[in-house]
Point group: C3
């Protein structure tokens, strides 16, 4: 019962995610298909990189994650398939796996990247503008059906990586960036909580707001309160209890967030 997730910037109106599932079931009838998200902003590779890194390691071993955020479709950019730890990935070589490569490297997980150029694993006819249907879906379905990654094509040693913003230590402070604003208006930073472990008394600065501690969960503060707390995957975020931090402080991706120690 292999699990396949699909992520894209296709939206939900056109049936383009539906047709990918039709292709997948034709090749791997036992697949369990999960929509990860299809509301990534058009061509926003960085955004899907953050969403994937947050979600995929909760999936069963050997799940296949197909990603179609593909501004370079039909050009020379390579289609790739990747094993990173327990999970498999299929998509364009445009950096969408940057954070997952890094995690695999940090954790010492297996990391195998191939250029999926074997056309026997593509649809017979390949359009120039919809590789999600014609290449990534069949490749993902064959992987889920048990074809080995090594059979899919040549090894890639120089995958594209995105130049993502990194949190910086600055004396007793940590300076990061808001990298994602979610559906609720939570503003999620790139600062992992463990980077703050030696700060006794945290003060968080974001968009001119100064928050004088880091809470555990929303309900510890009254409804409507702007507050800092860890997101569910361990990064610092700024939220409003039962409200939207993003609307409240007109915050957005790219905003600087600084955590300092009130004792300093």
């Amino acid at each position: 019962m292999p699990v396949i997730s699909i992520s894209s910037d296709f939206g939900l109106q056109d049936g383009n995610t539906g047709v990918m599932k039709g292709v997948i079931y034709g090749i791997c009838p036992d697949a369990k298909i999960v929509d990860m998200t299809h509301l990534i902003g058009p061509q926003d590779v960085r955004q899907i990189a953050y969403v994937l890194a947050r979600q995929v390691f909760y999936f069963p071993e050997n799940s296949v994650h197909i990603v179609v955020v593909d501004p370079g479709v039909g050009t020379a950019r390579r289609p790739i398939a990747v094993r990173a730890g327990t999970q498999l990935f299929v998509g364009p070589d445009n950096g969408f796996l940057t954070l997952i490569y890094e995690r695999a490297e940090k954790e010492g997980w297996p990391l195998q990247i191939v250029h999926t150029n074997r056309k026997e694993y593509w649809l017979p006819q390949v359009s120039d503008i919809f590789h999600g249907r014609d290449i990534f879906s069949p490749v993902g379905a064959y992987l889920a059906a048990g074809v080995s990654l090594g059979d899919m094509g040549e090894v890639v040693t120089d995958p594209v990586r995105l130049d993502l913003p990194r949190p910086q230590r600055d004396g007793a402070s940590v300076r990061g960036e808001i990298v994602r604003v979610d559906h609720f208006g939570n503003m999620i930073s790139n600062i992992p909580m463990e980077m703050l472990s030696d700060i006794d008394c945290a003060r968080v600065d974001l968009k001119g707001k100064k928050l004088d501690r880091i809470w555990r969960t929303f309900g510890e503060q009254p409804v409507g309160t702007l507050m800092a707390l860890p997101c569910s995957t361990g990064y610092l975020m700024v939220s409003v209890n039962q409200g939207s931090a993003s609307l409240e402080i007109t915050g957005e991706r790219g905003d600087t967030i600084v955590v300092s120690d009130c004792n300093n």
Copy 2:
């Protein structure tokens, strides 16, 4: 082939519904997972209560409905699992099942409520802000996989119930409230059709509009006509044939609707 539905206020952009499915398939690989809705307004427990009551009894016996509209996540509110008649439910004890408790009591169906505090049915690590992933998905998956409700935790005898608006008889009239506006702009009331059975000649008043009968279906009136008719689960609603009643009369949840008998 157990069926699991998921309802939430998560929206569709962040992959949070995807990760729940990843968790579920890891525990119950045979599950058939259905998205009920993820577009409940943030923290709008009352809204999901109405949607669930409308939909769940069309599902196969022993389907499990996971609901994550959870303003109290990480606080003292209890995670619960419930059997009501043929269906099972998992979510926070915040009243989202109010209408379903009432239906089970009215129909004399089995109703069993437990506090799902046995951590062997949770993920090993539980965050303070995403119990949908860490508690409700695994609990739902174990239920679907055959673990009995009684094994999940202690019996609950005082579940939280919402204080929902109730239709009132007022002489020959019935006074109700619009409790849901759907995607088409249909304005759905809390007045069950059977409460109107002794009204021979109904007149419906809503937002200053007077509608002089209750129709059977949209196409009985010209396109664009404001009309009263029963919704598909037997409550009175006001609609515009091929249009939006909500837009037409700037109506919304909470509006008063009165049905009187033109003979009185």
Copy 3:
């Protein structure tokens, strides 16, 4: 492992697509259910006709496509089930299959249309306003479970067909219409590329813009460039590389598009 797709104008907030899946799994527990789209404009039968024609022939043989865009629900319009080539369809007889009838006729595929009036394949109780749940879902599920189309009801010889705009040759030019604007703002015409095969040097006119050739894929032009190219199912479209043609030129469905030969 039969595949069932569902298309509708229901949106995603109300759980009406969820309840259809509950009904389907009760009848055909092995079904693999795919959401094609639920964001068709309300009652926009023409739009679902174009989406379906684009997507369904990528599905496995004997997939069942349930379509609920149904302005005539509860009136005399017939519920139908159809085989066209390898695919099966269920929905109201309102023309949503017009392009698929034409394709079957052109290709010489089997085409069988029945009025699904056998109530043993409906839910026991049928509402007047939600045949998606009460008729089309059970009929589709029984088809997927192996009931033969011929058992579903009487043969229909006069199915409703939409009067769709057709591309016209006009000397050395072809005059068509924009029939769909997708999520990315691509403006997709009704002109099949093969109709342009004898134009050596194409010039495309749309909304006063003159485009002097037809490209192969987006990345052949700089980001932000308005360009003509084939869509992934072989019709001419106008796009902006990493942008929205529809926004860029305030274009919409119904706009006239003309392809002429620069040599003439």
